[in-house]
């Protein structure tokens, strides 16, 4: 493992017109897998695309493998693999044709047929890009990012919209990349993905990193004290709170999803269920849970839906 960080972002600011997409972001990614987690519009893609050399910082500095992605782009590009959020392929190109083409742009590419097979694309090699399913298009873009044997790959939402099997295949590939010493920076909405894959997670919101650490570090604290249930949205959380012991809190995290934090014991459970009974609520999926990254994420980034 290298000692110098693979990506170093210092005080990055990027504006589009009057809108500030990234606002003084600081991020250091070491070798391994780093997940960049955040709600829509948090600045994930802008940050990644600045690292890929597509955007020039308005202020701050970005270094990727020690290089400036804009000024030293020619040196950097062969060493980095890129998977865009969507597109990137001629609509009339066949899947294997496009992958073979990207392979030809590199000095020591992977075996194209083996990679296609590996990602479940073996049967659609002759299919033109526009006729591939969304999941196949995603996996082709992933294959294009790794075929050149890069040191570092940027994957922008690599499993968005994939079915569970395809998601597993993608995860397996990311794990293999890591084992073989390739560093991976990926953005995701899926907490489970970050927990499964990442050595390090950076949570971005409103253009800043608001928390960073291993999944375990981020999940630490309060684990055994959480009770969750789902019911109809808009329950009177204040009334529930009155029924609970004084040191408890209760909240509706997302519409219909409730969390009680406090001293979780049989009495508390009984209190919650009898309150539900009084209010005609069926507490579905009632559980006492491990504190997950999703909780951390929602706590950090707030509860309201964003566009």
């Amino acid at each position: 493992m290298r000692s110098e960080p693979v990506v170093q972002v210092r005080d990055l600011v990027k504006r589009y017109g009057t809108k500030t997409a990234v606002n003084g972001l600081v991020l250091t990614a070491e070798a391994g897998v780093t997940a960049v987690l955040g709600p829509n519009g948090a600045g994930k893609t802008t940050t990644i695309e600045t690292c890929e050399g597509y955007r020039k910082p308005d202020s701050g500095t970005v270094r990727v493998l020690g290089l400036d992605p804009v000024r030293q782009s020619a040196e950097l590009r062969p060493r980095v693999g890129v998977m865009l959020q969507s597109g990137g392929v001629y609509s009339g190109a066949r899947a294997d044709e496009m992958l073979r083409h990207v392979a030809k742009l590199h000095a020591h590419p992977l075996d194209v047929d083996a990679l296609m097979e590996r990602l479940g694309l073996g049967s659609c090699g002759r299919t033109s890009y526009r006729r591939l399913s969304g999941g196949q298009q995603q996996r082709l873009a992933l294959a294009m990012a790794v075929v050149g044997r890069p040191e570092l790959v940027f994957l922008d939402e690599p499993t968005a919209g994939l079915d569970p099997q395809a998601r597993r295949a993608t995860w397996d590939l990311v794990r293999d990349l890591r084992t073989d010493g390739v560093s991976v920076i990926l953005t995701t909405h899926y907490m489970e993905e970050a927990e499964q894959l990442a050595d390090d997670v950076a949570v971005i919101d409103a253009g800043r990193v608001i928390a960073q650490g291993s999944p375990e570090e981020l999940c630490k604290g309060g684990a055994e004290n959480t009770l969750r249930f789902t019911g109809r949205p808009g329950l009177d959380v204040g009334s529930l709170l009155k029924a609970l012991p004084a040191d408890s809190t209760a909240a509706e995290l997302t519409p219909g999803s409730y969390r009680v934090v406090g001293k979780v014991n049989p009495q508390l459970l009984a209190t919650v269920t009898s309150w539900c009974a009084q209010h005609g609520v069926m507490p579905d999926r009632i559980s006492v849970e491990r504190h997950t990254l999703e909780d951390v994420f929602l706590e950090l980034t707030g509860r309201e839906l964003r566009s």
């Binding site: 890929e52 050399g53 597509y54 020619a74 590009r77 062969p78 060493r79 980095v80 890129v82 865009l84 969507s86 597109g87 990137g88 392929v89 001629y90 609509s91 009339g92 190109a93 044709e97 083409h101 990207v102 030809k104 742009l105 590199h106 000095a107 020591h108 992977l110 075996d111 083996a114 097979e117 590996r118 990602l119 479940g120 294009m144 790794v146 050149g148 044997r149 890069p150 040191e151 099997q165 597993r168 295949a169 397996d172 794990r175 293999d176 990349l177 084992t179 073989d180 010493g181 390739v182």
Partner: protein, 258 residues
């Protein structure tokens, strides 16, 4: 789906392929994309050939003294250049930009100038195929060309440069749909008003303005050489050179990659 673990296949070994190999691969891919696209073939092959055959065999337009194929063949060659370098390239590049192809390639080891070189090579290969096909068709229709092949080559190259500049300017600044509509409209207007099949003197006083269009300079220049055996048509070459410099300069300045 198979999963191999710890195979070591992904151990980094990065590196760009040699430049000539990258450019050749890119040019080959671009050419295949073009030849595979039905609408593009209609524009670059079917329409020029049909117009040549139709207007040479049926007396629809008064093409002046001599065989009509001698008047038409140079115009159709100019049309072929415009269809590939301008219309075809604008539409293809516009959609490549829209679908993130240009963006993805910009992250590959292929430098941008090499991508443009490959696009140019692909345009030239297509034009060579068009010229061969149209020349053979014209000969079959009784064409008897004159003139200096070097002057013809120079006109075709400057015409290609001017139309490529205009096509890329359009593709790099407008939305893909606007480029599609605009490039076809311009193709149609210049087909009629650019001396391709209709002699420009039919347009009366407007002809002096129309003469300054790149299509008129190209069709007029080719006709001067191939039909009338003129030496270097410096005036038309000059007009094409100005268009080429202005259009390529503007494309270089305003082209947006995504």
């Amino acid at each position: 789906m198979t999963t191999a673990t710890g195979t070591g296949v992904h151990v980094p070994e990065p590196g760009a392929a040699p430049l000539p190999r990258m450019i050749a691969a890119q040019a080959a891919l671009e050419t295949r994309m073009l030849l595979r696209n039905g609408e593009q073939l209609l524009l670059t092959v079917v329409i020029p050939t049909l117009l040549l055959v139709l207007f040479s065999s049926v007396d629809i337009v008064d093409t002046g003294k001599g065989k009509s194929v001698d008047f038409l063949a140079p115009g159709i060659l100019a049309l072929a250049v415009m269809s590939t370098a301008f219309t075809g390239q604008a539409i293809a590049t516009g959609f490549e930009r829209r679908y993130g192809v240009l963006k993805r390639l910009a992250a590959s080891p292929l430098p941008r100038w090499a991508l443009m070189a490959a696009k140019t090579a692909s345009v030239l290969v297509t034009e060579a195929l068009q010229v061969i096909l149209l020349t053979m068709s014209a000969f079959a229709l009784g064409w008897s060309p004159h003139g200096n092949p070097l002057a013809v080559l120079l006109l075709l190259i400057l015409g290609t440069a001017a139309f490529s500049g205009l096509g890329l300017l359009m593709a790099g600044t407008l939305k893909a749909e606007a480029t599609l509509a605009g490039a076809n409209l311009v193709f149609l207007l210049l087909l009629v008003g650019g001396g391709v099949i209709v002699p420009l003197d039919k347009f009366g006083g407007a002809r002096h303005t129309l003469d300054l269009l790149p299509i008129s300079a190209l069709s007029g220049g080719l006709r001067d050489v191939l039909q009338h055996g003129a030496a270097m048509p410096w005036g038309d070459l000059g007009i094409l050179a100005v268009w080429a410099v202005v259009a390529l300069g503007a494309a270089g300045k305003f082209f947006r990659w995504e």
